[in-house]
């Protein structure tokens, strides 16, 4: 659109840095490191009907591209082995990769931190046309909430209908969580995954803890 010669529409490849490539001895720190989940796991009752664990320090990548661009979706599938979930509120997952639909042209991909750089490179190389890959690993953390009362706890957190008929396994929604937000995905009947923003992680942890008080909470590690 611009008449500036610098702004050409040629195939653009964003520069990639291996942000996980830190020096030996440097360890990442979860936004909930201060909570001490390991100690809590020893202290909380083993028979509680609600269980919570954190999957910290995962690799997270935001993908923006055009779902109607067959070359892009094919490239995505070629790299990940997974079909890009273009249906609203859907997700696909393999043993170590999860792809969540966030918006019509946005997906959140989660992989083990060690696999992130390679994935980002391979996607970057394979995808053609206008797209964006943004590393958001440090900006997110993941909770897994499970147990027979998990739905009852979540009802106090999110306004969406959690009934199996409306929220089957694999469905993903980005929704309000109390006064914050989360990306919620059902893993199975009694298990949910919550992707939350780093700066809100403590609030959401406190809220989940509080909401499960009447049932009993076990922290797992």
């Amino acid at each position: 659109m611009s008449d500036n010669p610098a702004s050409s529409k040629e195939q653009y490849k964003a520069p990639i840095t291996d942000w996980t490539g830190v020096a030996d001895g440097v360890t990442g720190r979860s936004p909930l490191a201060h909570v001490g989940f390991d100690e809590l796991a020893q202290m909380t009752p083993s028979d509680a009907p609600v269980q919570l664990r954190e999957y910290a320090l995962k690799g997270h990548l935001t993908l923006r591209c055009n779902p109607e661009d067959a070359a892009q979706t094919a490239a995505f599938e070629a790299v990940t082995g997974l079909a890009l979930p273009t249906a609203p509120l859907s997700s696909v997952a393999s043993s170590d990769t999860t792809v969540r639909w966030i918006a019509p042209d946005e997906w959140l991909i989660s992989v083990p931190a060690s696999a992130l750089f390679s994935l980002q490179q391979r996607l970057q190389d394979a995808l053609t046309g206008h797209c964006a890959l943004v590393d958001v690993s440090s900006g997110l953390t993941v909770f897994e909430l499970s147990g027979e009362r998990a739905v009852d706890v979540l009802k106090k957190c999110v306004p969406v209908d959690l009934h199996q008929r409306h929220f089957p396994a694999g469905k993903v929604v980005s929704t309000g969580f109390a006064k914050a937000s989360c990306t919620l995905r059902r893993l199975n009947d009694e298990t949910f995954e919550l992707v939350v923003r780093r700066s809100f992680a403590d609030y959401i942890w406190l809220w989940l803890q509080d909401a499960s008080l009447e049932y009993g909470l076990r922290v797992e590690n």
């Binding site: 964003a14 520069p15 020096a23 943004v134 440090s138 900006g139 923003r197 700066s199 009447e214």
Partner: protein, 1005 residues
């Protein structure tokens, strides 16, 4: 105390579980299953309140939510006080402590009692209206008086120790009310496979069936209730909510249910259990089966304790085994009233007479009366009651067929209880919450719900099906209709059979005539809670307040917590007659949520205390806490404000931090700044349109400051955007503006310029940002990286990727302090590591952490604005003296370009942002101080602009300030005066806003 009114058998109470409770300091006993009201009546407590205007003694009239008098204060301790509780809805528990809310300061002798009639005449109808016309200052006085006198109770002073929860619910069918219609509807819907919630406000489900003597399928009605509840409990898709009032019916079938989870157990909820829960429900279909409230008749002194509704008498006898008196007179206009007489008689107490306004009565009920030998007086009504704290006798006379005139001699009957029934008013309240207006049905003498645009069905007494059989059938029909609409199977459901009942039509009697005109007759109460009388309503109409909405405001009919449950229809009927109109012509007032009072605790839920609002933390927060930082809220973020050392005041700490940064090196946690990754072929063009300045030539590796304006040309955010690669930028925003800016960018991209190929992603949380600033910042950073940090290799306003303390980083040479600065960005998971590494190497440089206050001072010394502090949405770039950041050469327009050249925006006397130097350098002006050019001008002095930023600058050893002055840019060196609240006037000079290093030499090193 003995329970002198308690029967030895019968009722749904558990006599093996006696409970003690305290009423007004005295200990009484009741049983499990009692309400506070039934327990008080069992103990012969007649007076539970004093009326608000006339201070008349009042007793319990009803047995449910419609109770107007028994409004009590519950709570054994200060912290557990609950106002506004209806004694009829409060389950009894061991140790319950209740006090009357009215009757100030005591029931027997109170201030209003002492002034008695004076207060009454001081508060004629129209009191509210008339006080509104007084000066406002008087209203404050009146309001206090009214609030206290109106019997609304008091809030606890101590924090509530209980938990209150909120939860979201979704269902196919929400059934409101668990009487015959509601239970039938829920049963059918559940069998059809629907997800059902059934909520009922009473202590147990069953509604009218709990006090019914009818046989369903040959068995007691309560057996049928038990079997239905048992089946519903078995359904996994059914949620039963007893003790739960559906209080609000909002748009799109969103309803709120107030569940009293543990209110009936103890003064405090058991540990970890919520006391109450607010359910926020989205229902595909709503079936209202809210039943009906019995209308009492309006007659003289009808508020004397002992006057009740007929259905309440039946409820107390049948459900609670309580006969609330010895000698009963019933006055009725319909068959329903007879039940009270039968129940009373069968409980072994004396029914003096049943007075029926109808003539030649023939019905099943009348036969039952005759079988028991109870006296029936036809074509008559109770005109008046004698007694003050208890009914002593009633005056009965014949009335004409229209029920407008007394046509016979008055006879007196000795009794202590009067039960009246004027028929049933469907509880249409919820149906009206979404704007539906009720319609009058003369055949049932009542309003029924009107048409609605919601997916709502109505059943039972609510639609005039007052018989049990009719209610059951209409409940089933509603469920069928809902199931069909939901495309669910309609199951086979058999309605239980009942014995046929012969019913005689009711007579439309509301206001019983007296031998005297209404205005001179004894007080005939319509709305007990608000002390509204028939005479008051007639006066309202005479004074010209004729519309029912005016009558309501003039008299307070249906105000407050009562919402007209007992009195509204009677009030409308009296209004109609006074105006010579029909009731439907008069119409109804609007019923609003909530149906009954909801505690603030339930509304607040867990959004209180530490969970009131999210607290957002940076990756370095724990370090800040460990170093004793004072925190400031910026949006939801907790940012270090300053880092006091032992014994330091805030001013001392800030001065130290300011000097340390300018003389050596300081460090700021800037992680909270909004960060947006922007990429795509049109990213550059996009930036040019949303920022006021030019972006076409910003080369990769370079950074630029940008101003963002609204369409009106007014500044709303600013920040530095860096070119990461030709088509890739990182935008920073203010901390508070981050979410709003991203939304703004997406809005423009999606609605105005969808053709631009650009993607935006928030990376605020991903990056931890730490700014080291000061002459030694290069040396410090150099100890942690191998990168060439020289001015030549890494010039001002550029960025470079490098490894800092073993972590890949983006380092930006940008400065908000005017010093040599490096803004180090690392993935937040490594933020604390890098921060601590800087401190490990920082000691030789006296690396000083500083907070937002020092940041503010340092930027003010340099004359940098803070969007939102120095701007307020009415300031454009030229006002700020930042025309250099506006490029009118861009080929495409930019947001705000047109706005900032409007006539008003180019006036020479606009308020312009300038520096303000007080003549006395030790005086720090308060922010917000208003300037004047002539300190001797008469009040109101013409104000010429206010101070937006003002600090003590330790580096300059004087005060500095910035603010707006009319035409300020052309007034450099002139004097402006700031008259302060304490009467002093501060004289100051208008100057450049840049107080330190105007050439920028310190940052270009």
């Amino acid at each position: 105390m003995t329970q002198l009114n308690r029967l030895s058998t019968g009722g749904r109470i558990n006599r093996s579980k006696p409970l003690r409770f305290t009423w007004r300091g005295q200990v009484y006993s009741g049983y499990e299953g009692d309400t506070l009201a039934s327990a008080l009546l069992a103990n012969g407590v007649d007076v539970v309140a004093r009326s608000f205007k006339y201070s008349r003694p009042r007793g319990i009239i009803a047995a449910g939510a419609e109770e107007p008098n028994g409004i009590v204060q519950i709570g054994a301790t200060e912290a557990t006080q609950v106002p506004n509780v209806r004694a009829t809805q409060q389950g009894l528990y061991e140790g319950l402590v209740a006090e009357p809310t009215s009757g100030w300061p005591s029931l027997e002798y109170d201030l209003m009692g002492a002034v008695g009639k004076v207060a009454g005449s001081a508060m004629p109808p129209g009191f509210y209206y008339k006080t509104f016309m007084f000066p406002e200052s008087m209203w404050m006085t009146y309001e206090k008086f009214i609030r206290r006198a109106a019997g609304l109770g008091r809030s606890p002073i101590a924090p509530d120790p209980d938990r209150y929860e909120k939860t979201h619910q979704h269902c196919d069918v929400l059934v409101v009310g668990a009487g015959p219609a509601g239970l039938m509807a829920a049963l059918a819907a559940a069998r059809g496979g629907a997800r059902v919630i059934i909520a009922d406000e009473q202590e147990e489900m069953g509604g009218s069936l709990l006090a019914s003597r009818e046989l369903l399928d040959g068995g007691p009605a309560t057996d049928w209730v038990a079997s239905v509840l048992a089946e519903l409990n078995e359904h996994p898709e059914v949620l039963l909510l007893p003790k739960s009032t559906v209080n609000g019916y909002h748009d799109h079938n969103f309803l709120t249910i107030h569940e009293r989870c543990t209110d009936h157990l103890a003064d405090r909820a058991p540990d970890t259990q919520p006391r109450q829960r607010l359910h926020r429900v989205r229902a595909e279909w709503v079936i209202l089966a809210t039943g009906a409230h019995e209308r009492p008749l309006v007659y003289g002194n009808n508020d004397v304790p002992g006057c009740m509704t007929c259905s309440a008498v039946s409820s107390y006898v049948q459900r609670y085994g309580v006969v609330p008196g010895n000698r009963l007179v019933v006055s009725t206009s319909n068959d329903g009233g007879y039940q009270a007489a039968l129940d009373w008689h069968d409980a072994g107490r004396r029914v003096v007479a049943v007075i029926d306004a109808r003539r030649q009565v023939a019905s099943t009920m009348a036969d039952a009366l005759k079988d028991r030998g109870i006296t029936l007086i036809e074509g008559s009504a109770v005109l008046n009651v004698a007694g003050s704290t208890r009914v002593q006798s009633v005056e009965v006379a014949r009335i004409d067929a229209d029920a407008h005139q007394v046509i016979g001699p008055v006879q007196t009957l000795v009794c202590d209880t009067v039960a009246t029934s004027g028929g049933w008013s469907p509880a249409v309240h919820l149906s009206c919450h979404t704007g539906s207006r009720p319609t009058w049905r003369s055949d049932i003498i009542g309003f029924v719900p009107g048409a609605t645009h919601e997916q709502r069905l109505d059943a039972g007494a609510l639609v005039g099906e007052f018989s049990t059989e009719g209610a059951l059938n209409s409940g089933l029909a509603a469920a069928r209709q809902a199931l069909q609409a939901l495309s669910m199977s309609v199951p086979e459901v058999v309605v239980p059979t009942l014995a046929p009942v012969e019913i005689m039509p009711a007579l439309a009697l509301f206001h019983v005539p007296h031998t005297l005109p209404t205005s001179r007759a004894p007080k005939q109460f319509v709305d007990y809670q608000n002390d509204v009388t028939a005479a008051g309503i007639e006066l309202s109409c005479r004074e010209g307040f004729e519309s029912i909405e005016h009558v309501k405001r003039y008299t307070a009919l249906g105000f407050g917590t009562d919402q007209g449950k007992l009195g509204n229809i009677n009030g409308m009927a009296i209004t109609a007659r006074a105006r010579g109109m029909s009731i439907p012509e008069v119409g109804t007032t609007v019923f609003r949520p909530n149906y009954t009072p909801v505690s603030f605790g339930a509304i607040v839920g867990r959004d209180c205390g530490p969970l009131f609002d999210p607290k957002r933390y940076t990756a370095m927060h724990e370090w800040h806490v460990s170093k004793g930082a004072a925190f400031e809220d910026v949006g939801q973020w907790k940012r270090p404000w300053y880092f006091p050392k032992a014994g330091e005041t805030m001013a001392q700490a800030v001065n130290r931090e300011c000097v340390a940064t300018r003389t050596s090196v300081g460090i700021l946690d800037a992680s909270t700044l909004g960060k947006i990754d922007i990429q795509g072929p049109d990213a550059r063009e996009f930036l040019g349109r949303v920022y006021t300045n030019a972006w076409a030539k910003l080369a990769p590796g370079r950074c630029r400051y940008g101003l963002m304006c609204g369409e009106d040309g007014m500044v709303f955010d600013d920040g530095v955007t860096s070119c990461l690669a030709d088509q890739h930028f990182l935008m920073t925003t203010t901390t508070g503006g981050a979410a709003g800016v991203l939304e703004w960018l997406e809005f423009y991209h999606q609605t105005e310029w969808p053709e631009l190929q650009v993607y935006m992603t928030s990376v605020t949380d991903h990056w931890a940002t730490m700014t080291i600033s000061g002459p030694n910042s290069r040396k410090l950073l150099g100890e942690l990286t191998d990168a060439d940090l020289s001015a030549e290799a890494f010039p001002f306003m550029s960025w470079q990727p490098m490894t800092v303390a073993g972590v890949p980083a983006r380092v930006f040479r940008i400065s908000f302090t005017g010093e040599l600065s490096f803004e180090i960005n690392v993935p937040a998971n490594y933020g604390l590591h890098v921060w601590e590494a800087l401190f490990e190497r920082g000691a030789p440089y006296d690396l000083t952490p500083y907070g937002t206050e020092t940041m503010h001072v340092l930027r003010a010394e340099k004359g940098f604005i803070i969007a939102g502090q120095d701007t307020d949405g009415s300031v454009h770039p030229h006002d700020l003296g930042m025309g250099w950041a506006v490029s009118n050469q861009k080929p495409f327009s930019f947001i705000g370009k047109r706005g900032m050249v409007r006539a008003d925006c180019v006036r020479p006397d606009r308020k312009q942002w300038v520096g303000i130097k007080t003549r006395d350098p030790s005086v720090v002006l308060p922010e917000g101080a208003q300037g004047v050019f002539d300190p001797n001008a008469p009040i109101p002095m013409p104000m010429v602009g206010h101070i937006t930023s003002s600090y003590w600058s330790a580096n300059l050893n004087r005060s500095i300030a910035q603010g707006f002055v009319k035409g300020g840019h052309a007034r450099m060196g002139e004097t402006v005066y700031y008259p302060l609240a304490d009467g002093s006037v501060v004289e100051a000079e208008i100057c450049s806003p840049v107080f330190l290093d105007p050439e920028g030499e310190r940052q270009h090193v």
